[in-house]
């Protein structure tokens, strides 16, 4: 170790921070394996052709013998398959409408009275209630519940004898399974950015607060150690770990789901780095004064939870009210995720991602400077 770099404090600070992380076995699980499991679980759930089950309540008043000759009862007797021993002892029929393109739809009909049907609807165990109405059928459902509305549309088609999609229309349906358009393509970039945020926020903030509470920071700054070297080393180690975690998650998603980066790899590297710097800066700011891990927990959660929910990691943030979208789009995690996602799925390059990357860098720089200014080493 005659190389002068080997005596340099920055080298030893990087080595110390790095060893501190990799000697914690849980890091391997939470940093690497856990995101893979999430992508596997959600990826499989949302990319397989789904077989849908709709639960339908059929009002049957045993006192009214005429009801059993109604249209719905006749339909069930003719097309439905009687469930021999239902678990709740209510008479049940099952009807499956097959569709190889869109997935099979199964209706489970439970014959019951109004009171029970209403209770089951409130518990979301029924989507739809049908009852004989003269010679026809009356449908009762919540029009604001998309599942209920879908069940209504499919059931009326099935009862009228029409297929869910006519052969001509079915020919026009092209299920989107190409890379870049599936849910997993939406999900993986979000998991990568969320992982980077979590890693920075918990790794840096919590680690710093822990060192402060153990009086290690106080001991270290009582030497000629350069404070900037200490913080830079912390950031270098954390960003390196995040790169490894992101690459491993990407390789996993590539092998299992055939996910691909359609845009510029260089732009991806730049915005990934910018996003990491933004969250490193925020993490240093958040941990700049707190000395107790309990308060630190609250502060970190106050930053990561709103962004995890709002920034469109798992589902599009366009589901939020219109007035909130401009605000959500300015959150660091949204900028980061939208940028990475556009490179993954829309073939974006520097032209589209330079501005978000610059904003993320500025966010990191501002929070880092303010954090350093108010930082409590003792």
């Amino acid at each position: 170790m005659s190389n002068p770099i080997c005596h340099h404090q920055f080298f030893h600070l990087v080595a110390a921070h790095g060893k501190e992380i990799i000697r914690e076995p849980a890091v391997i699980f939470w940093g690497i394996i856990f995101p893979m499991l999430i992508s596997l679980g959600l990826g499989l759930s949302f990319t397989q052709t789904r077989d849908v089950v709709h639960h339908v309540g059929v009002i049957s008043d045993s006192a009214d013998a005429g009801q059993n000759d109604s249209k719905i009862h006749a339909f069930l007797r003719e097309h439905g398959q009687k469930v021999s021993e239902p678990t709740d002892h209510a008479p049940k029929y099952r009807l499956t409408v097959e569709n190889p393109q869109l997935g099979d739809t199964t209706f489970v009909f439970t014959q019951t009275d109004w009171k029970t049907a209403t209770v089951l609807l409130k518990r979301d165990r029924l989507h739809l209630i049908v009852e004989p109405a003269g010679g026809d059928i009356a449908y009762h459902f919540d029009p604001r519940n998309p599942d209920a509305e879908l069940a209504y549309l499919k059931l009326t088609k099935a009862i009228s004898g029409k297929p869910v999609a006519s052969p001509e229309i079915a020919g026009n349906i092209k299920p989107l399974t190409v890379t870049g358009t599936r849910y997993i393509d939406f999900l993986v970039p979000g998991l990568i950015t969320m992982g980077a945020m979590m890693s920075c926020m918990w790794g840096i903030s919590y680690g710093m607060i822990d060192k402060r509470s153990k009086k290690l920071l106080r001991r270290m700054v009582a030497t000629p150690m350069r404070k900037s070297h200490f913080l830079m080393a912390l950031m270098v180690v954390r960003i390196s770990m995040n790169i490894i975690e992101a690459v491993l998650l990407f390789i996993f998603a590539y092998l299992v789901f055939d996910i691909a980066v359609q845009g510029s790899i260089a732009a991806l590297a730049v915005i990934f780095l910018a996003g990491n710097i933004a969250f490193c800066g925020i993490a240093i700011f958040v941990s700049s004064r707190t000395a107790t891990t309990e308060v630190g927990n609250g502060l970190v959660n106050a930053v990561v939870l709103p962004m995890t929910v709002m920034s469109g990691i798992f589902f599009s943030y366009h589901n939020f009210p219109d007035w909130s979208i401009p605000f959500i789009q300015k959150l660091p995690l949204t900028l980061f995720t939208d940028g990475i996602r556009s490179i993954f799925n829309e073939g974006a390059g520097f032209a589209e991602t330079t501005i978000p990357a610059a904003i993320l860098l500025a966010v990191g720089g501002i929070f880092f400077s303010v954090g350093l200014r108010v930082f409590r080493w003792h």
Binding site: M1, Q9, L13, K214, L216, A222, T223, P224, M225
Partner: protein, 309 residues
């Protein structure tokens, strides 16, 4: 040549606590000084101000003639310190921790090897900090403090919580260092034995003030002839008034433990008087111990409390 440490009229308060209230002290080069006082006396605040970790509200502190302001980097190179409790990174080895701290002083492996030998941790060089005993951790902290051949060593309660053997090991390292006469030391402690064993200058501190200072001999000089008689009586429940009424000298009486203390400055003439007094009052002695006055006794005299209270 400027003294190793100069503290002039220093004050420091925290919210409602006046931790240090007008302290002056001067430690000459090569001297080992102890700040002796009970918990909460203001020792740590004072030593942390000397270490440059805290700033005094008022007053001046100079190390080798240099104030902290404008000299921080130079002073950090010439002092070594150990805080009251520092927990180093659990999953780094002794070697790695020492290498890390050595790098802050641009020191290499050779110095780390010397320190490992000096503090007796050669066989623990690969052990993680989390697996060290309390004594080994304190020796590691001391090793880090000594890495840069400090001209001024500042140790805050380096042996608190250690068993007697571990304490002796730390003392032995510091006594070896003292022989070199190149380092001055300020040590805070509430163990009078530690101050007596290691230091040639002792400052008794309580409630943020220096009550008395000097060498051990100087501190006890006025009272060297005085002897302490500690005794227990074969009669529980006696009040202080009952025991001490008519006594030829003052008796401290602990009625709960049936234990008394008297200070005699002419033991040859006064001890027979004391026995005669007990005999007249029909009090029977169970045990008696005669000893020299200690720093603890001096502290009790000055404050009315004992060091470990």
């Amino acid at each position: 040549m400027a003294p190793a440490v100069e503290v002039q009229d220093v004050y420091k308060s925290f919210k409602n606590v006046r931790a240090v209230r007008g302290v002056d002290l001067e430690i000459e080069n090569g001297r080992f000084a102890a700040l002796l006082g009970p918990n909460g006396a203001g020792k740590t605040t004072l030593v942390e101000m000397i270490e440059g970790i805290q700033k005094p509200d008022q007053g001046e502190i100079r190390i080798h003639g240099m104030p902290w302001k404008g000299n921080e980097q130079r002073l950090r190179h010439i002092i070594g310190l150990s805080l009251q409790e520092t927990r180093f990174i659990d999953k780094l080895s002794v070697w790695e921790i020492l290498r890390l701290f050595a790098s802050f002083f641009s020191l290499g492996k050779n110095r780390v090897n010397e320190i490992l030998e000096l503090v007796g941790l050669e066989d623990k060089r690969q052990a993680w900090v989390v697996n060290l005993s309390g004594g080994q951790r304190q020796r590691l902290a001391l090793g880090i403090a000594l890495l840069n051949h400090p001209r001024v060593l500042l140790l805050d309660e380096p042996t608190t919580g250690l068993d007697p053997n571990a304490r002796r090991e730390i003392w032995s390292i510091l006594l070896d260092l003292k022989k070199g006469a190149e380092t001055s030391m300020v040590l805070t402690t509430h163990y009078m034995e530690e101050a007596e064993e290691l230091c040639d200058h002792i400052l008794i501190i309580d409630q943020g003030r220096v009550l008395r200072e000097g060498s051990l001999d100087q501190l006890l000089a006025d009272e060297t002839r005085e002897k302490i008689i500690e005794f227990t009586l074969d009669a529980a429940g006696l009040s202080k008034e009952t025991v001490s009424a008519g006594a030829p000298f003052s008796i401290e009486w602990d009625s709960f433990n049936a234990r008394g203390t008297v200070i005699l400055d002419h033991i040859e003439s006064q001890l027979p008087q004391f026995f005669e007094f007990l005999h007249q009052k029909n009090l029977h002695m169970k045990n008696m111990e005669c000893r020299k006055k200690t720093l603890d006794d001096l502290f009790t005299e000055l404050t009315g409390r004992r060091l470990h209270e």
